[in-house]
């Protein structure tokens, strides 16, 4: 079929927001097009599932005592002129702890988020889709790079990561950049790409050298350093894309 139904039309169809002529046109298209029929079926399934979710949830703790205390204390709160000031309660201490990462710098993105960032332009490539599906159940890519600045000097500095995971992570972050690039300001994109090509050139050179001298720990260490840098550049780029969408 040459003229598939646009994504927007599909959503409108699900929302019952189509005119009768449009609906007729779409229905006749669906009658002959498997691709659109499948797509619409999958989307409607998602929407139906969402609509079927329970709409009440029991809070984990009894929040009443906290509310009562705050309600009673309220009234004499006055802070900040000319600004909206709300008093909000404590956050679990674990949250703070979780944010305190010392020796291990972890890069964690879920596939959902990766896909989210990648889909910035509402376009999801087959690659991303495949990734999300291949990854199976709680899909996630996780790389923990141990930044061993700790005692031990050179030996401890050796950065450890799983090759496969590193490659996956880089691939995914690059994918985010490819698909989310249009949300970035042109100069930002140019700079990011310049940084990446610097790092890529370095990595290429080192990898070539490694084919001559595969056991060189100097080369391996250099490779790790620049890969690490590349991860940082891509991670910041993905972060910038995420804040834009």
């Amino acid at each position: 079929m040459s003229d598939h139904i646009s994504r927007e039309r599909m959503h409108e169809a699900m929302d019952g927001a189509l005119s009768s002529s449009e609906r007729a046109r779409i229905e006749s298209h669906l009658a002959t097009c498997d691709v659109c029929r499948n797509e619409l079926a999958r989307l409607s399934e998602v929407v139906a599932d969402l609509r079927a979710l329970p709409r009440s949830a029991t809070p984990p703790d009894d929040l009443w005592s906290g509310i009562r205390a705050r309600v009673r204390a309220a009234g004499q709160e006055a802070a900040g002129e000319g600004a909206t000031v709300l008093e909000l309660p404590a956050r679990a201490a674990t949250d703070v702890a979780a944010r305190e990462r010392s020796a291990v710098r972890g890069v964690r993105l879920t596939v959902v988020q990766l896909a989210a960032a990648a889909a910035a332009v509402a376009l999801i490539t087959a690659g991303t889709m495949k990734l999300a599906m291949d990854a199976g159940a709680p899909a996630s890519l996780e790389v923990a790079i141990e930044d061993a600045a700790a005692p031990g000097g050179a030996a401890a500095r050796a950065v450890s990561f799983e090759e496969g995971r590193y490659v996956d992570m880089i691939d995914e972050l690059e994918q985010i950049l490819v698909e989310g690039r249009t949300v970035l300001a042109p100069e930002t994109l140019v700079t990011i790409e310049a940084s990446l090509s610097t790092v890529d050139a370095a990595i290429d050179e080192i990898e070539t050298a490694l084919t001559q001298d595969p056991a060189s720990d100097l080369l391996l260490r250099l490779l790790t350093t620049h890969r690490n840098t590349k991860l940082g550049v891509l991670q910041r780029a993905a972060g910038a894309i995420q804040t834009e969408i």
Binding site: R51, R55, R108, Q113
Partner: protein, 178 residues
């Protein structure tokens, strides 16, 4: 406590408006599950959701005297909850968003299941993993049932953008479910 289920919502609201703390507690008991569900899904964060529930009821207490009863209390409460969560721009800011991992989403999924025994963990996780804006509008549209134009008004974003965000969010959930 003498407020059984038989006690009508209107009577409780009237009493609470007069400063009756017991009546207010009864209102909280009757409605907090609904409020928590909204906060939980819109924030995608269990800790933040419990904070938000408390904020909501503190705000309800403050605003209750002005509630005139020309709409249902539950409708008013729902709207107040949504507005408060929408104002909460930082439920999961950029810095944290980057650090939400599988472990966090799994923990979230389990917490969601405890809070809503009948729910689908994979779907809850997929919603929680969405970008903030996308998650909020999706929840408002497809779970809470608001209309596009209502959402546009509540979020202060154009109708077109709201639609685009919702469409995108559905697509992302679809992808996440695989």
């Amino acid at each position: 406590m003498n407020t059984g289920p038989a006690e009508s919502m209107e009577a409780l609201v009237r009493a609470a408006q007069q400063g009756d703390m017991e009546a207010f507690e009864a209102l909280y008991r009757k409605t907090s599950d609904r409020v928590y569900a909204v906060c939980l899904r819109m924030s995608g964060d269990t800790d933040r959701a419990t904070e938000l529930v408390q904020d909501v009821f503190v705000r309800v207490w403050q605003k209750l005297p002005g509630f005139r009863g020309d709409s249902q209390f539950t409708t008013w409460l729902h709207r107040l909850t949504v507005n408060l969560v929408l104002q909460d721009r930082r439920s999961r800011g950029r810095r944290e968003a980057r650090e939400v991992g599988t472990a966090d989403l799994e923990r979230y999924g389990r917490a969601a299941r405890r809070a809503m025994p009948g729910t689908r963990i994979d779907l809850e996780r997929a919603i929680a993993g969405l970008p903030d804006k996308a998650r909020r509008v999706l929840v408002l549209r497809d779970i809470e049932g608001y209309k596009y134009d209502e959402i546009a008004r509540m979020t202060g974003v154009s109708l077109g953008t709201v639609k685009a965000q919702i469409h995108r969010a559905r697509g992302l959930v679809k992808v996440a479910l695989g």
